[in-house]
């Protein structure tokens, strides 16, 4: 039941990080009891910082937090939990090797004889909680075997079990299929009926319009506006977020497909825990096209990208670029074929956080920036090119010598893109290139990919963002359980729901249909 009673209020928050970045300034924000309140903004807008403050992970330099009419200080997560604030993070905080029940009781373990864990009581109490909130999962399963949707439910349960009245969900649908998202929304409505309040952080305008009651927009570290969802539109929200009209649609000429440049045949890969992550995957990538690999994360896309870029070797199967077998080559050699790679996890594979922006821009092409004799770095040439790239890609930074880790997520991704998308790239492998970054950066990166495609490059886009897949790609394949279960030559004819069915494995094409790509 939504009321007008203000349950949580945030007043004039100021947060400055040790590296000098002002993350929150003049932030004012209030949440009504029993509502689902969306918080939207570009990366670097300050919403994750605000949430960290509410959950005690960070403390503000200035400002007040008022809960149920009383001012509170939230020094740590324990205090936040005791105040009834729970948080479900975007990257799950679960212990893989323990069961769901153990993860739920962690920190509140029932004891017998003072020192020992009471397993029976643990199972009983978790099952009771499941019933109360209508969650349908088996608490004896190990987390490492559970699906993403189940993991998220476990995370929500963790908060509920500790008495959370206010739930903060950080990009909760980023890793869910359309069907799982529907389930989540049903659960959220159940929670709402039971009197809980939900703060919903998301980039997905469609979902915000669907399930949220009110929306607060943040920009450049400040709260810009709060309105009722029914009183506004996607365009309006988007404008407030960036202060200019963002093109939500991609202007794309029809594809001019050339010859096949990359061929994968019956790739098989077994991962660290013995599972077949890739089960005889074949595909052909042609010049001048954008081919999407759609699918819920964890169905083999990551392994496919890793094999295509030489990070891992397939157990069997072959991979050819321009007719040359490359499946046993290292990344260094594969890149000689003018292949570039925007990795999924930019901090792990995409940059050296403690080195400067300039240092990060030349790692794959340093040999072209040497003085005569090929030993010494040509600093002048390097700095000139670095400044050019920073401008071309609108990278927001103090100087080209700043450490990459001082930039916001979107700007780091732009550094990665600036490095990879250099003039002579012929095969572009892009893995979740716009995940978790602001709309402006996303638009720029997508525009660049289309530019390259128009120049004749081949783009393999691995993306779990359905709208991106539908907007951007010429053709699409869908991966499910390590297999390709669908191929659509013209993505333009595909709907979101259809795509969702294939992604979840509800529908499956015949082998002939799938092999049409070959």
């Amino acid at each position: 039941m939504m009321s007008n009673k203000v349950i949580l209020e945030v007043e004039n928050i100021l947060k400055v990080y040790p590296n000098g970045i002002v993350a929150n300034k003049n932030v004012n924000f209030e949440v009504h009891e029993g509502e689902i309140h969306a918080l939207i903004g570009e990366n670097g807008a300050g919403k994750s910082t605000l949430m960290k403050i509410l959950f005690g992970i960070e403390t503000p330099e200035e400002g007040r937090i008022i809960l149920n009419g009383e001012e509170v200080k939230i020094e740590n997560s324990k205090k936040a939990i005791s105040l009834g604030i729970g948080m479900v993070h975007q990257h799950f905080m679960l212990v893989e090797s323990l069961t769901i029940a153990e993860n739920i009781v962690l920190g509140n373990e029932p004891k017998k004889l003072i020192f020992f864990t009471d397993k029976a009581r643990m199972l009983k109490s978790t099952k009771e909680c499941l019933k109360r909130y209508n969650f349908n999962i088996d608490v004896n399963d190990k987390i490492e075997d559970a699906s993403v949707g189940v993991k998220q439910k476990t995370e929500i349960l963790k908060s509920l079990v500790r008495g959370a009245k206010i739930l903060i969900l950080d990009e909760p649908t980023a890793v869910l299929t359309p069907q799982e998202t529907k389930e989540l929304f049903t659960e959220l409505n159940t929670l709402k009926k039971q009197g809980h309040t939900i703060i919903f952080i998301s980039h997905k305008l469609n979902e915000i319009m669907e399930i949220c009651d009110r929306v607060t927009i943040m920009r450049n570290g400040t709260t810009v506006d709060t309105t009722f969802v029914k009183d506004t539109s996607k365009q309006e929200i988007s404008n407030k977020m960036v202060g200019r009209d963002i093109v939500l649609q991609v202007d794309k000429k029809p594809a001019k497909r050339g010859k096949v440049c990359l061929e994968a045949e019956n790739l098989v890969y077994v991962n660290g825990i013995g599972k077949k992550a890739l089960d005889k995957v074949s595909l052909k990538l042609r010049k001048g096209e954008i081919l999407s690999v759609a699918g819920v994360e964890g169905n083999g896309q990551a392994e496919l990208a890793a094999i295509l870029t030489g990070m891992i070797k397939p157990v069997s199967g072959s991979l050819k670029i321009n007719g040359i077998k490359i499946e046993s080559l290292k990344p260094a050699e594969i890149r000689k074929n003018k292949l570039v790679y925007i990795p999924e996890d930019r901090m792990v594979n995409g940059c050296a956080a403690k080195l400067s922006i300039t240092d990060n821009l030349f790692t794959n092409k340093i040999d072209y920036f040497l003085k005569k004799g090929n030993i010494f770095l040509d600093k002048k040439k390097i700095n000139k090119q670095s400044e050019f790239l920073v401008e071309d890609f609108h990278i927001l930074c103090g100087s080209i010598n700043h450490q990459v880790q001082m930039l916001s997520g979107g700007n780091i991704q732009k550094v990665v893109a600036a490095r990879e998308l250099s003039e002579d790239a012929e095969i572009i492998i892009a893995e979740q290139p716009t995940r978790g970054i602001d709309a402006g950066a996303s638009e720029l990166i997508r525009r660049k990919m289309v530019e390259f495609r128009d120049r004749g490059a081949a783009v393999l886009l691995v993306s779990a963002d359905l709208n991106e897949v539908l907007e951007l790609s010429d053709s699409t394949i869908v991966m499910h359980n390590g297999k390709v279960n669908a191929y659509f030559r013209e993505t333009g004819n595909l709907t979101v729901e259809e795509l969702g069915y294939y992604m979840l494995g509800v529908k499956k094409q015949t082998e002939t249909e799938v092999n049409a790509i070959l």
């Binding site: 002002v22 050296a352 080195l355 790692t363 010494f376």
Partner: protein
């Protein structure tokens, strides 16, 4: 843009590092002072002796420089190996073996002394490279933790080296455990009479410059820094990381070996080390003090050498064990490495600087 005389964020950061260094040193000395005052009656004079010891005579000051030489070699070696993000501590064993190998060559190899010395140094370097390569290969091939292996390897090298020494070089007529003397003239020339300071100081200066240039001006150094910063990224972006790691361990080991050789040929006429000299372990301390910048290693080496010679003097004059220096050094590096030391104060000042910047309308 309005000019402001308040500090920018960067200036705050630099000023802070200086403040942290100074506080760390001050606190370390203060605590040591307190410790000393428990065991002797005149702690003030003891501390005075510690500080001015090296300045009491020209000769004594020269010992500081003499000690700087092997310390700097060790520091450079460890700097390069650590830059690849490998905690390879075998520089100690490499230095020891390098010294032994060059001693044996100095005893037995015929020929003009200049040639013999060059040969000895190169052989020492190669020996050191081999020693440090072992933990490197084990890590690259089989993901074996290089830290424990390198620590064990140092002990293995000590005993193995001593065995070889006993078999090949030991002088049975000598009163203490020492080798035969090096051949006539096979010694680095003395550059200041009245001291033991030898031309090895020019060799080490050369290596400092070479290391700095290597690290920041060549493509190999660039690849090394990228690999050390994020090995997954380096691999993904096409850098041959196995080669980079191996070569960094080899180069580091080479420098350590040459360091051992320089020390042997500059300061001794016989091989007489029965324990590991410790320069390789000290090198870790130097690197922390030098903030991993090869250009600052000699400065850090000077600081540590000065401290040790001062402590020796303090021992002779005030009967306070020189090992108190270990406590001082430990405290200094811990406080320097402790990022959170004075972090709150730094944060406050950074906040102020940022706010000022926003208020004066400057870009963030």
């Amino acid at each position: 843009m309005k000019k402001t005389n308040k500090m920018s964020v960067e200036q705050v950061h630099t000023w802070f590092e200086v403040l942290r260094f100074a506080s760390a040193i001050f606190i370390a000395f203060a605590i040591s002072f307190i410790i000393i005052s428990f065991s002797i009656d005149s702690p003030f004079s003891a501390m005075k002796n510690l500080f001015i010891g090296p300045l009491t005579s020209f000769r004594r000051f020269s010992t500081v420089l003499e000690l700087m030489i092997p310390l700097t070699f060790g520091g450079l070696a460890v700097n390069i190996m650590f830059k690849a993000n490998q905690f390879n501590l075998a520089a100690e064993g490499a230095l020891f073996m390098g010294a032994l190998v060059s001693a044996i060559i100095a005893i037995y190899m015929p020929g003009p002394s200049g040639l013999v010395m060059v040969f000895a140094m190169i052989a020492a370097g190669i020996t050191g490279a081999i020693v440090c390569a072992i933990p490197g290969i084990l890590k690259v091939k089989w993901k074996c933790s290089e830290m424990v292996v390198s620590l064990m390897l140092n002990y293995v090298m000590l005993y193995f080296g001593t065995y070889i020494f006993n078999q090949v070089a030991r002088d049975p007529n000598s009163a203490y455990k020492a080798s035969y003397t090096f051949r006539e003239g096979v010694t680095l020339s003395n550059i200041i009479s009245g001291t033991r300071l030898h031309s090895g100081i020019f060799i080490v200066i050369f290596f400092v410059i070479a290391t700095y240039i290597f690290m920041f001006k060549t493509k190999w150094g660039y690849k090394l820094r990228v690999t050390g910063s994020n090995i997954n990224f380096a691999k993904c972006t096409g850098i041959g990381v196995a080669g980079v790691i191996m070569s960094s361990q080899l180069i580091g080991g080479f420098i350590a070996g040459v360091g051992g050789s320089t020390e042997m040929l500059g300061m001794y006429t016989r091989f007489q080390w029965s324990e590991l000299p410790g320069y390789g372990f000290d090198a870790v301390i130097l690197n922390i003090l030098a903030k991993e910048n090869p250009a600052y290693i000699p400065v850090a080496a000077f600081f540590v050498a000065y401290l040790r010679i001062g402590a020796d003097y303090m021992y002779k004059q005030s009967d306070v064990a020189a090992e108190i220096v270990a406590i001082i050094e430990g405290l200094v590096i811990v406080l320097i490495a402790a990022v959170a030391f004075l972090a709150k104060l730094k944060h406050k000042m950074t906040t102020k600087a940022s706010k000022n910047l926003l208020e004066s309308g400057g870009a963030q």
